[in-house]
Symmetry: C2
Subunit: 172 residues, 2 copies
C-alpha cells in the first residue's frame, strides 16, 4: 500500500492497480485458462511473460487482494494461486474489454471466439461464470453446468478448424 498521491476516482484507482501491460494478462490466464502455478503462468502464456515480471505482478496482485496463495499439498515447492472475490469480480471488465477489442482491433478468430460468447451471453452468463470461478478458486459449491468448459471447447474447436483449414489450403 504505497502512497501515490493521485485521486480517489474509481477509474484512476483501478488503473493504479491494473494499469500495466501484464497484470490483466496474468489474471486472464488464471481465469480463462485455469492456470494456478507459477510455471504454468510462465510457460503457457501466448505472450511470453518474463519470470521476474511474473513474480513481481503476482506479488502486487497478492498485496492488492486480487489473488491469494496457498501451498500445494502434493508438492512442497509449489504454490497454488487462486482468484479472490475481488479478482473474480473482474469478469464484467474482461467481457467489456474483450468485446471492445474484438470489434476494433486485429484479433485472430480463434482468440476472439470466447469474447464473442461472453458478449452474446451477457450479464446472465457472466454471473454463471463467476459462480463457477467461486467453485474453482474459493470454496463455493459446484454449479450445475460449466461455462468454462463451454468457452474452452469453443476455443479448441476454433483452433482445430483453423488447423484443418491450413492443412488443406484449397477446398476441392
Amino acid at each position: 500500500m504505497k502512497e501515490t498521491g493521485r485521486s480517489g476516482c474509481p477509474i484512476n484507482l483501478t488503473l493504479e492497480i491494473l494499469g500495466d501491460r501484464w497484470s490483466l494478462i496474468v489474471l486472464r490466464d488464471m481465469m480463462f485458462g485455469n492456470r494456478r502455478h507459477f510455471r504454468e503462468l510462465l510457460a503457457k502464456s501466448d505472450e511470453g511473460i518474463a519470470s521476474n515480471i511474473l513474480a513481481d505482478r503476482l506479488k502486487r496482485l497478492l498485496e492488492n487482494g486480487l489473488i491469494s496463495r496457498r501451498d500445494d499439498a502434493s508438492h512442497k515447492q509449489k504454490g497454488i494461486y487462486s482468484l479472490t472475490e475481488m479478482g473474480i469480480s473482474l469478469v464484467p471488465v474482461f467481457a467489456a474489454m474483450a468485446d471492445w477489442g474484438r470489434r476494433f482491433l486485429p484479433v485472430t478468430p480463434e482468440m476472439s471466439i470466447r469474447a464473442e460468447i461472453l458478449a452474446e451471453g451477457g450479464p446472465a452468463l457472466w454471473e454463471r461464470f463467476m459462480a463457477e470461478l467461486r467453485f474453482l478458486h474459493l470454496d463455493a459449491p459446484r454449479p450445475a453446468q460449466s461455462v468454462l468448459d463451454d468457452l474452452t471447447a469453443a476455443y479448441r474447436d476454433a483452433v482445430e478448424r483453423k488447423r484443418a483449414a491450413e492443412a488443406e489450403p484449397e477446398v476441392a
Copy 2:
C-alpha cells in the same frame, strides 16, 4: 503500427493500446469532463499528468484511431481533440472498470457518484451517453436529453455537499 510480436487475443491487443497508467485517464477526461484542448487535459486533471507524457499519449491515441484532432478555428494554435467511434465505444469498459473500482477500492464518495449512476443505468443509459458523445465529438444530431449533464450535476452536488459538511464539521 509497430510489431509487438504478441498474441491476437482481444484482451492482449487492448492492453497493448490502453495498458498503461495514463491513456485511459486522458480518454476519461475527454469523455466525462469534455476536455478537448491540450492545456485543459494538462492542467485540470486531478492526477497531474506531465506534459510530455500527455503529448505522447495523445499521439499514440491518434495513431491507434481512438481520437482525432482538428484545428480550432477561433485560435490558430489550439487543436481540438475528439473521440472517434472507437473511443466512444469504450463507454461500457469505463462503466465496468468504474463499477469494479467503486466496489473494491478506497474511492472517495464524490468521485464515485458517476460510476454509481452508470452502473445503475446499465446498458440503456450507456447507449444514451454514447449517442450524446457522438453529438459532442462527431457530427451526430443532438439527442433529446443529456446524460453528461446529469452525471456532471450529480458530481457537483456531491462536491458541494462535501464542502458544506467540511465547513460545518459537527451537526448541531
